[in-house]
Symmetry: C2
Subunit: 351 residues, 2 copies
DNA sequence: TTGGAAACCGAAACCGGTTTCGGCAAGAGA
DNA sequence: TCTCTTGCCGAAACCGGTTTCGGTTTCCAA
């Protein structure tokens, strides 16, 4: 039923190869082996080579928790999820985790995940993980403008890397997707289709990305020579419901827009609903753009024109950056950005 | 901008309290302290009490990786995500992780997460985690009928716990939600509304849950004295698209059903789409029930009648079970099930 | 009173590494 | 030729725990 079963446990047969085994095989002492593997300068290049070769051959890898007892570092990255945050990050979580795990395991690191409901609990979670040496550094998703996590980790001198930029760059490494560029491109795209009154529905203002995207939208409007009407702008819309409500308000404007740029895909789908309720056909009577690239957008009617974020790549980049940070590189050298990719589907059309 | 910053790092000031500190404070040796904390029989009840009290007072907790070097156990649970699996588990992932983390940290354990694309890579991932002692046991989501993970872990003698039941119970601990009961209740509910021709759209047959739910559906039909028509049944529908396709096929039947029971919410939403395309009003012309309790169901038009699974509770239960399993309890005592809760919304109506 | 078994704790080895320190040999400068 | 470095490695201490092994006391029965 379960197929043939391998030899059965190990029975103490095949044991892990230790540094002592290495030393024995090489005719050296374990201290020499250790220093060779850790790049100490008082080891000749010749023996270092012998050691690394032998390590390869015997497939020796130091036990991370054995070294941790002396070094304090476990070769593991920490991730603390905040649950009260709206489902915004949910759809991407799997890809994001995959990326993180990928980047970590490429260097022989692992990922330790914890979750907490409240902000206070989250700080305690960080403390507990640090206290027990369960993580050598942290990935902080969703950078916020006043971020308690950043305060804590800075104060404790613990390495971290943000997903999202931060005002106060001091000591901050980060990876981010240039959402403002996407917003600008969205406006440009719509303006190119002849739209002149364009609305904007932004995401949660407590996050760093929101002001940036607003800025990008504004820049796009200026470049296109279009007037920015505050009556056509809403914010803090991160769910479909929020988006629908925002769209209702905007469409109630005496001079409603012919297109709406959304900072979040879910909000864009909310616009679909509001439009439907008014008998407006998306892509014909009302153009909409989103941002994120959620799968639901692809299967909406019509499919949502949006900017896709590669969350897996982001995760991989973040873990790589964090590892480098933990290894001591300066945070100033550890800031990367990328762009979202425009996906022109069916939700935009000529004005 | 960031607020006042605490003392700065620790500067070596406050250090972790070690077992030696405990020994000193108690006038004992560290060996005694250790044995007291680990429940050795050669420690008097009096000193054990003194030790545990002092541990509480000094908030002493042994460093998990320090003990790991001797015991081999790290107090961490492993979770390996399979990415190629369709997005089925995605929406629940956050809650599921939260539950796992919750259950783990309640006992002072942590969660190590890894991801892999292919089946082969997944096995390697398990091996790597085991080899480096990064996990003492594993949570296996989505039990499959012939599960390579189970084979591997059984062979290696590594503790694990399944989310989902397994045919061959030997050595298997598990937690599961009784999907078959939900399917039966769904049929009963529909039969009570007067439906006599009821279709069934099942999920992925490679998973253990699918045959069970089919069985539950069949049982419900028998109990209601209704005829089971194979022409009204489809399987392997785990996405909205799959569900729509299955519904199309079923509705093409010369004697189409007036209700369809779905084993997966996403498939039920696919039924919505198929019905819409034919001008059938859900809840009036065609009744539909789902299973899972995804948020999209709540906001569908009309809201989806379904059975909600508490994935957070499931996660918490699983980690608790796994910890007990790792501590040596027999798997036979570690099998729990619960029921999904029926949520009667708007997608069912009288025949 | 004595001998033996429990009961209980200390001493020391060990786990798998890292890091400090000291010493030997070869090479360089005088 | 003799010292002084330098280069290179071994010896040993250490990290924070666990576990084995003895060695005292105390209790109890003989």
């Amino acid at each position: 039923m379960e197929g043939p079963v391998a030899p059965l446990s190990d029975g103490g047969a095949r044991k892990r190869v230790t540094i002592e085994d290495m030393a024995q095989a090489l005719g050296l002492t374990k201290s020499t082996v250790s220093r060779a593997m850790n790049g100490y300068p008082d080891i000749s290049e010749a023996t270092r080579l012998r050691v690394t070769r032998m390590a390869e051959k015997m497939s020796y890898r130091p036990l991370s928790h054995a070294q941790a007892i002396k070094t304090g570092r476990t070769r593991s990255l920490g991730l603390v999820l905040q649950l009260s945050d709206h489902d915004a990050q949910r759809p991407f979580l799997a890809e994001f985790l995959a990326g993180l795990s990928e980047g970590a395991s490429a260097e022989g690191w692992t990922l330790t995940v914890a979750a907490s409901d409240s902000h206070a609990a989250m700080i305690d979670t960080f403390r507990a993980l640090l206290r027990d040496g369960k993580a050598d550094g942290f990935v902080l998703p969703r950078a916020m403008s006043d971020d308690p996590r950043v305060r804590l980790l800075r104060a404790e001198g613990v390495p971290f890397v943000l997903f999202g930029r931060h005002k106060n760059a001091e000591g901050c490494a980060w990876f981010d997707v240039l959402g403002e560029e996407a917003m600008r491109d969205a406006v440009r795209h719509l303006a190119g289709l002849g739209h002149r009154r364009i609305g904007f529905i932004n995401g949660g203002m407590k996050y760093m990305y929101a002001p940036l995207r607003a800025e990008g939208f504004a820049a796009g409007m200026r470049e296109a020579g279009l007037e920015i009407d505050a009556g056509l702008m809403r914010q803090d819309a991160m769910t479909l419901q929020d988006g629908a409500a925002a769209a209702e308000a905007i469409l109630d404007h005496p001079a409603p827009p012919t297109a709406i740029v959304c900072a979040v895909d879910f909000a864009a789908l909310g616009v679909y609903r509001a439009a439907e309720a008014r008998g407006l056909a998306i892509g014909r009577d009302l153009s909409v753009t989103g941002y994120d690239g959620i799968p639901e957008g692809l299967h909406a009617q019509p499919p949502l024109t949006t900017f896709a974020v590669d969350n897996r790549a982001a995760g991989a980049a973040l873990s790589t950056l964090l590892i480098r940070r933990i290894r001591g590189e300066s945070p100033d050298a550890l800031r990367q950005t990328t762009r979202a990719t425009f996906i022109d589907r069916g939700s935009t059309g000529p004005a």
